[in-house]
């Protein structure tokens, strides 16, 4: 079976779009689109059209009207809005079936209210000579051709696939395998036979009213009723455990998200402090730099004047017109103390003494100009040497500022990214508190404890019941009045025994076949081929993955690996089923790193090709551009896929389809 056309009207962001999957490349379709372009809602349109549900809607959207807000606002009050999804299915026998579901809404106060239940119709288009015929019971037609129980193995959300084995119990795996292999028919027969045996037992007992038989029958009835009550309780508890597991997984995800959020918030605070401290450092470095600038600016701007004045002074020194810049009072002091600045005794060194006296004479004979120039000299020299000395300070400050700025820029980039992530995470809403998880864990523990008790009670009751039934049957076998009914009972018991044997044989056969195929498919997809030893499905239908060291590693598989296991499971189920249903997968590689993508893509392409005793399985992949990268394109090239592209038109608030 293939989906050849899909037409959508007024379904969420689809106002009016027609998908045409006919043509040579009809077996492998790739629909690309960015987030929000309508990929997941494409999956929802199929789910809604076939089964009247929206299994892939995010929780927040589940209660929203199917009609988009824009369609509502464009309509007038009291207007009727029709949502319709039509599918053309090309069946294995060449006929085409047109499946269509529509729902009517009425606009009132800017809200679209559904005014009647959605209506399903199926028209089978025979060849030209026979025309078409509408199915009187379209729901039955769907159940026969696309059974609802197979939906989980036909329509996939890749982002949720990783939870396939985490959330679903072995019971679900068993149900899937048995349903898809149609072995469950035998199980149903067993159930009918058990009911028949029960009735025959009662009928036989009613034929003979002797006290012993009646007492034995009463005992059987009491025990049967007790067992039925425990079975019912066990079933309810199992259901409760499944619900708890689903809720638990949801809360666990939320808590992980919350923990990541808390780590981000902590990091944000830390970064904010670091940025604050760095900004203070930078500001201080700038203040020092400004101080450096202010201190040196006069000498810097007036450098030519300083150099010219020092040149003039130096010229006068050379001409002997200007003595060294030593003050007169200092020279007088030296002569009076008789000690030179170099420490030598001036009284014992006439030459040095004369030199000082000569300097004093020159100082005293300096004119006004000489005195001015001499007074300027030490200050001007000071300016120049401070200017040269400031170079080191400048270099240190400049380096400090450049380093701080670089670091600040890096921190700001990280900070901005973190803020964005925190804001996105906050917009997902507050997750459930840890106490919710604890409450669920407590409930799970209580349910597990009770289920253990119930199972133990059931074992005891079953054993008592068996013995009571044996006793009853012995009495009945001796009763002439109950003989005819007893023979029927014996026959029914033999039939049940045979049926149970066949069921066990067939389910084992199917289980082993699924195990073989899941093992082959998984190993083809997985990138750690040398690490994985085998995939097993045991008698209780518990899936396990073993490494070459002999360890069971299912719980340690990454999200991507779990996704591969889910694909492998679906492909294995496809391999044993009598249906050739299409496979529609939204964001198949969304949670996978780039490494395994080509392997998984190649395996999907190869496993759904026509093969020995196998028709082509149509595959429709809904991917973002990031997922459909060059490596994936190459891996899928052998199937010559048909490429279509979704684009959300902001202006008209609708999805548009383009042949890519």
């Amino acid at each position: 079976m293939k989906i050849s056309r899909v037409s959508i009207s007024n379904f969420r962001q689809y106002q009016s779009v027609n998908f045409d999957f006919t043509g040579d490349e009809s077996d492998f379709i790739i629909i690309s689109g960015a987030n929000g372009d309508g990929k997941t809602n494409f999956l929802n349109t199929l789910s809604w059209c076939l089964y009247d549900n929206e299994n892939f809607a995010v929780k927040d959207n589940q209660n929203l009207s199917l009609v988009s807000r824009d369609t509502i606002s464009n309509a007038s009050d009291s207007d009727e809005i029709v949502t319709k999804v039509g599918l053309d299915l090309t069946m294995a026998n060449g006929t085409t079936a047109r499946v269509s579901r529509m729902a009517k809404f009425k606009k009132n106060n800017n809200v679209a209210t559904q005014i009647s239940p959605s209506k399903l119709s199926v028209t089978v288009l025979q060849d030209a000579s026979k025309g078409s015929s509408s199915e009187a019971n379209p729901e039955l037609w769907i159940e026969q051709n696309l059974p609802k129980r197979l939906e989980p193995y036909v329509l996939f959300d890749g982002e949720r696939l990783e939870n396939f084995f985490k959330r679903e119990s072995a019971k679900t795996v068993q149900a899937a395998v048995l349903e898809i292999a149609q072995v469950d028919v035998l199980r149903n027969m067993n159930s009918h036979l058990e009911t028949a045996i029960d009735k025959l037992r009662k009928a036989a007992a009613s034929e003979d009213s002797t006290f012993a038989i009646q007492e034995a029958s009463k005992k059987v009835e009491v025990l049967s009723s007790r067992l039925a009550s425990r079975t019912e309780e066990e079933s309810a508890l199992s259901e409760q455990l499944s619900d708890l597991a689903r809720n638990y997984a949801g809360i666990e995800d939320a808590i992980v998200r919350e923990q990541k959020h808390a780590v981000d918030v902590d990091r944000e605070r830390n970064l904010s402090n670091q940025i604050g401290a760095l900004e203070v450092d930078l500001s201080e470095a700038w203040a020092q730099f400004a101080e450096w600038g202010a201190k040196n600016a006069p000498a810097v701007f007036a450098r030519s004047a300083l150099e010219a004045a020092l040149g003039e002074i130096e010229k006068r020194h050379q001409r002997g017109e200007l003595p060294p810049p030593i003050k007169e009072s200092v020279l007088v002091g030296l002569l009076e103390q008789g000690v030179c600045v170099c420490g030598s005794d001036l009284h014992g060194n006439q030459e040095r003494n004369d030199h000082i006296e000569n300097l004093l004479d020159k100082n005293r004979s300096l004119g006004e100009l000489g005195a001015i120039l001499q007074g300027m000299e030490s200050h001007l020299t000071g300016f120049m040497s401070r200017l040269q000395g400031s170079e080191d300070t400048r270099s240190v400050l400049q380096h400090q500022i450049a380093t701080s700025r670089k670091k600040l820029s890096e921190l700001n980039v990280e900070y901005d990214a973190l803020r964005k992530r925190i804001s996105e995470s906050a917009s997902q809403g507050k997750s459930a508190p840890l106490s919710d998880l604890q409450r669920l864990m407590d409930a799970k523990d209580r349910a597990n404890l009770r289920i253990g008790e119930v199972k133990s009670e059931m074992e005891t009751i079953t054993s008592q019941l068996k013995s009571a039934q044996t006793n009853q049957e012995q009495l009945l076998s001796k009763s002439k009045k109950a003989q005819a009914q007893f023979k029927k009972l014996e026959f029914a018991k033999e039939a049940l025994k045979q049926s149970q044997f066949m069921f066990k044989e067939l389910s084992d056969e199917v289980r082993l076949e699924v195990q073989k195929q899941i093992d082959t498919q998984f190993k083809k997809m997985i990138w750690k081929q040398n690490y994985i030893d085998r995939v097993e499905i045991d008698d209780d239908f518990i899936v396990s993955v073993w490494d070459k060291q002999g360890f069971e590693i299912l719980s340690t598989l990454s999200a991507g690996e779990r996704e591969c296991l889910a694909f492998a499971f679906s492909l294995a189920l496809n391999g044993i089923s009598n249906y050739e249903l299409p496979m529609v997968i939204d964001t198949p590689f969304g949670r996978m790193s780039s490494e395994p993508r080509p392997n998984v893509a190649r395996s999907l392409a190869e496993s759904t090709k026509p093969g020995e005793g196998r028709e082509t399985r149509q595959v429709i992949l809904l991917m973002t551009d990031t997922e459909y990268d060059t490596a994936v394109q190459e891996a899928l090239a052998s199937r010559n896929p048909k490429l279509l592209s979704l684009q959300f038109d902001q202006g008209n608030s609708t999805v548009k389809l383009q042949g890519a």
Binding site: A290, A299, L380
Partner: protein, 137 residues
């Protein structure tokens, strides 16, 4: 220690400019003397002598020291190219005030005209360029 405190008057119209320069570039950390010397040297560097302006008679007063007078004298010598001019203290002070007036006006214009977002950084860049050092800011 201030050895002389002549009233080196700023132009009346320029007093707000000194305030702006001090606030925006130096965060109010500079003294009147610091600002005056920067303006003086900048005015000298760019040959901006403003002779005709109305001086403030009430302040602000600069507390100058020997080294500051030495700088003023070096500028006086460079401007006149005559050593004897150094004897003219009043002339030195007047010349310094005129260059400072030219300098403060030009610095203010430069900061305002460019509508600078980072006056402090730009001023330091100006000093660095004068030192033939590329600004790495």
């Amino acid at each position: 220690m201030a050895i002389d405190s002549p009233l080196l008057a700023f132009g009346v119209d320029s007093i707000p400019k000194y305030d702006y320069l001090n606030d925006s570039v130096f965060g109010g950390s500079l003294t009147n003397k610091g600002l005056f010397l920067i303006a003086l040297a900048y005015g000298f560097k760019n040959k901006l002598l403003v002779a005709d302006y109305k001086k403030s008679t009430t302040g602000p007063r600069t507390e100058l020291e020997e080294q500051d007078f030495a700088l003023m004298s070096a500028i006086q010598l460079a401007h006149t190219s005559d050593s004897n001019s150094l004897k003219d203290i009043k002339g030195r002070n007047e010349l310094a005030q005129q260059f400072a007036e030219g300098g403060i006006r030009a610095l203010y214009e430069w900061l305002m005209d460019q509508n600078r977002r980072d006056p402090k950084g730009d001023f330091i860049g100006l000093v660095l360029r004068e030192l033939n050092l590329d600004s790495q800011n």
